[in-house]
């Protein structure tokens, strides 16, 4: 399977080079031209984009208790994704790697550390999307899988479908040999679940006060100019059995298109769905807005129209990126040209040189 992927990538890259050259004659933006003329890039024999990875660990009222672990977690994930991109890996490999790292970190509500539904079970949602072809894979309400993002990728690569749900997703996982994980629930989550009485309280607490977890996600731009996104979540504590949030829904939990960029969303899932937040941000970018302006305009609209709070990470196909949120906090980190940016509180932007 690994072998096949490599061959496919190699064919893919040849095609992509042609596309970049064509774009220099037709593209509205001058960015690819600049890259072609850059002596450093010319020396390496092929035009290369400056790679970007941006990750988030959820937009909500992150308690001080989890602040440090959240920051460490998103930085680790950004490093993991950046390492893939630096080695010439694809955007889709980078976002999968970054999101797997967040799923494995019990600080976040995805994979290990997911919240429990009203019956005390874990149900996970995830999506991954390739901006070159618009190919997408997603799983909804899947149980006992450590890395739903990798199962979503398998749906994209090994089936004719985009979304598999519930038992169908589990059966598919079993068929392709993904092991069952029965250690996803942390002691902290079990305790919190026992204390929280009902779902409406859960929503209030998650987004307005200090308790709960949320979605994780990543977006990336690789050296060939391809973008990708991935999102993964355990949803909202005490959700009804079978509740599907925004995360596995294309255009809401995430969207990636080489012609504009990639977005991964987080926040109140029902609100994100109502405004198809990821696609809305990219519509604004198609109209000429910067990544930051597009994310802010869309989040403000979501607040006004459906009274929902949330956040998004964005990368454009020219490398412009953003991390915006209307919740009290969002843990995020990005790496571009060996500079790491990260933050947790509004308007916070710490930078760190990696070299």
């Amino acid at each position: 399977m690994q072998h096949n992927n490599t061959i496919k990538d190699r064919h893919g890259s040849r095609l992509k080079i042609c596309l970049v050259i064509l774009r220099t004659f037709t593209a509205k933006d001058l960015q690819p031209v600049k890259i072609l003329l850059n002596p450093e890039n010319r020396a390496s024999g092929r035009p290369r984009m400056k790679t970007v990875i941006v990750v988030h660990g959820g937009a909500w009222a992150i308690p001080d208790l989890l602040a440090e672990a959240s920051m460490a977690g998103v930085k680790n994930a950004a490093w993991a994704g950046d390492a893939v991109l630096k080695n010439g890996g694809s955007a889709i490999d980078a976002v999968e790697k970054a999101v797997r790292s967040l799923e494995d970190d019990p600080t976040f509500d995805a994979g290990h550390g997911a919240v429990l539904n009203v019956d005390g079970e874990v149900e996970l949602d995830s999506i991954i999307m390739d901006g070159e072809t618009l190919a997408t894979g997603a799983v909804a309400s899947v149980r006992n899988i450590a890395n739903p993002v990798s199962l979503a990728r398998a749906v994209m690569e090994k089936t004719d479908h985009v979304i598999l749900t519930d038992r169908g997703a589990s059966m598919f996982a079993e068929r392709i040999g993904i092991p069952v994980a029965d250690d996803l629930v942390t002691d902290l989550e079990r305790k919190d679940w026992e204390q929280s009485s009902s779902y409406p309280v859960g929503v209030g607490k998650l987004f307005n006060t200090q308790w709960g977890h949320d979605t994780v996600g990543a977006v990336a731009l690789d050296s060939l100019g391809n973008v990708a996104c991935a999102t993964s979540t355990g949803g909202i504590r005490n959700k009804m059995v079978g509740r599907v949030g925004d995360s596995p829904i294309i255009g809401s939990g995430g969207y990636a298109d080489n012609r504009s960029g990639a977005v991964s969303c987080t926040g109140h899932g029902e609100s994100i769905l109502k405004v198809t937040l990821a696609r809305l941000i990219l519509f604004h970018m198609e109209q000429g807005k910067s990544a930051t302006a597009a994310a802010e305009a869309s989040l403000q609209y979501m607040g006004e129209r459906v009274k929902g709070c949330g956040g998004a990470i964005v990368v454009s196909s020219t490398g412009d990126w953003a991390a915006s949120f209307t919740t009290p906090r969002m843990a995020w980190a990005s790496i571009k040209e060996d500079v790491l940016h990260c933050g947790l509180n509004p308007k916070e932007d710490f930078t760190q040189m990696l070299k």
């Binding site: 072809t133 618009l134 190919a135 997408t136 909804a140 309400s141 089936t159 004719d160 479908h161 985009v162 979304i163 598999l164 749900t165 519930d166 038992r167 169908g168 997703a169 059966m171 598919f172 779902y199 409406p200 929503v203 959700k239 009804m240 059995v241 079978g242 509740r243 599907v244 949030g245 829904i249 294309i250 255009g251 809401s252 969207y255 899932g269 029902e270 769905l273 109502k274 405004v275 198809t276 696609r279 809305l280 519509f283 129209r305 459906v306």
Partner: protein, 310 residues
């Protein structure tokens, strides 16, 4: 120009005798929706009733008459959306329910969620007192025959899907200017168990916003999802395109970018409507100002008084 309701019975290519029955079905659904609107009923009531009627009609791939998954079972998707508030409700991969569109409406009205899937949706249906129907009552001989045919190793379910009228849907604007959409489907022939198509995904299988309009699409679900077809059409309308121009632009893009065929019914807040498709056929009908419009092939547009044939 108000009220108006536009209905589709799926995009595809079917033999003449089936096509005629589909046309009869969409006309009947359109008259039902229009009667509700004329009595002052809401756009939401009109689209749900119109779609429920087509779910009950075995000629359509929704409710009774749904296509079967690879195991020979019925799993259905449906969604509704209210353009006033952007509230939406959906069910995916739900079994043994006669009218998934009504269950989707209950998700919107009785829960804090937008989408319930599979077993969770069934559990919710039981808690709402929605009767469970025997699986056999949803399965037609036609669906069974096509399921068997597509189990053969050289079968092409995507192509075969286009040989049957697909998904059903409706959009409407009521006298108060409120807009709604509803879509319901049995999905794709011989799909994997648990496969969810575009229908229950907001922005893909439908979208309604009082400020822009409403869309209900049909066609190859995976392609519709990749371009978020409903939201894309409305986006073009926000940029000043008419419903017809916006649908054509988006359907052409879907064909070029992801090689997918389909169709859509669309309305804007003023009552301008369109029924466009890139497939060979789409059975559609619309009612406005006492007239019933309908068609099946490209360029076909018949008009008769709504009252006729009642």
């Amino acid at each position: 120009m108000l009220p108006v309701v536009v209905v589709h019975g799926g995009a595809g290519h079917v033999p003449k005798e089936i096509a005629e029955l589909s046309t009869i079905g969409v006309k009947e659904a359109t008259r039902t929706g229009y009667a509700i609107l004329q009595k002052g009923g809401s756009a939401m009531d009109a689209v749900v009733e119109a779609v429920a009627l087509m779910e009950n009609n075995p000629r359509f791939n929704a409710g009774r008459g749904s296509v079967l998954n690879v195991k020979g079972e019925v799993e259905m998707d449906a969604m509704v959306m209210d353009g006033r508030t952007l509230d939406s409700g959906a069910v995916s991969a739900v079994r043994r329910i006669a009218n998934p569109v009504q269950l989707a409406r209950l998700v919107m009205e009785k829960t804090k969620h937008l989408c319930l899937t599979a077993e969770g949706a069934s559990k919710f249906a039981r808690s709402m007192g929605v009767p469970e129907v025997p699986e056999e009552s949803l399965i037609t001989d036609y669906a069974k025959m096509r399921w068997k045919k597509n189990l053969e190793p050289d079968a092409n379910p995507v192509e075969c899907q286009m040989g049957k009228m697909g998904t059903v849907g409706a959009v409407a604007v009521d006298k108060d200017g409120n807009i709604a959409c509803a879509t319901s489907t049995g999905g794709m022939i011989n799909k994997m168990e648990g496969r969810v198509g575009d229908t229950p995904c907001v922005g893909c299988g439908g979208y309604a916003d009082n400020n822009i309009g409403a869309v209900s699409p049909t066609g190859h679900g995976e392609a519709i999802m990749k371009v978020t077809l409903s939201r894309l059409i409305l986006f073009h309308m926000e940029q000043g395109k008419t419903p017809e121009e916006a649908s054509d632009l988006a359907l052409t893009y879907m064909k070029e970018r992801v090689d997918g065929l389909g169709g859509a019914v669309v309305v804007d807040p003023k009552g301008t409507w369109a029924a466009q498709f890139s497939s060979l056929q789409m059975s559609w009908a619309a009612a406005q100002q006492g007239e019933l419009h309908f068609g099946l092939y490209h360029g076909e547009h018949f008009v008769e008084p709504v009252q006729e044939n009642i």
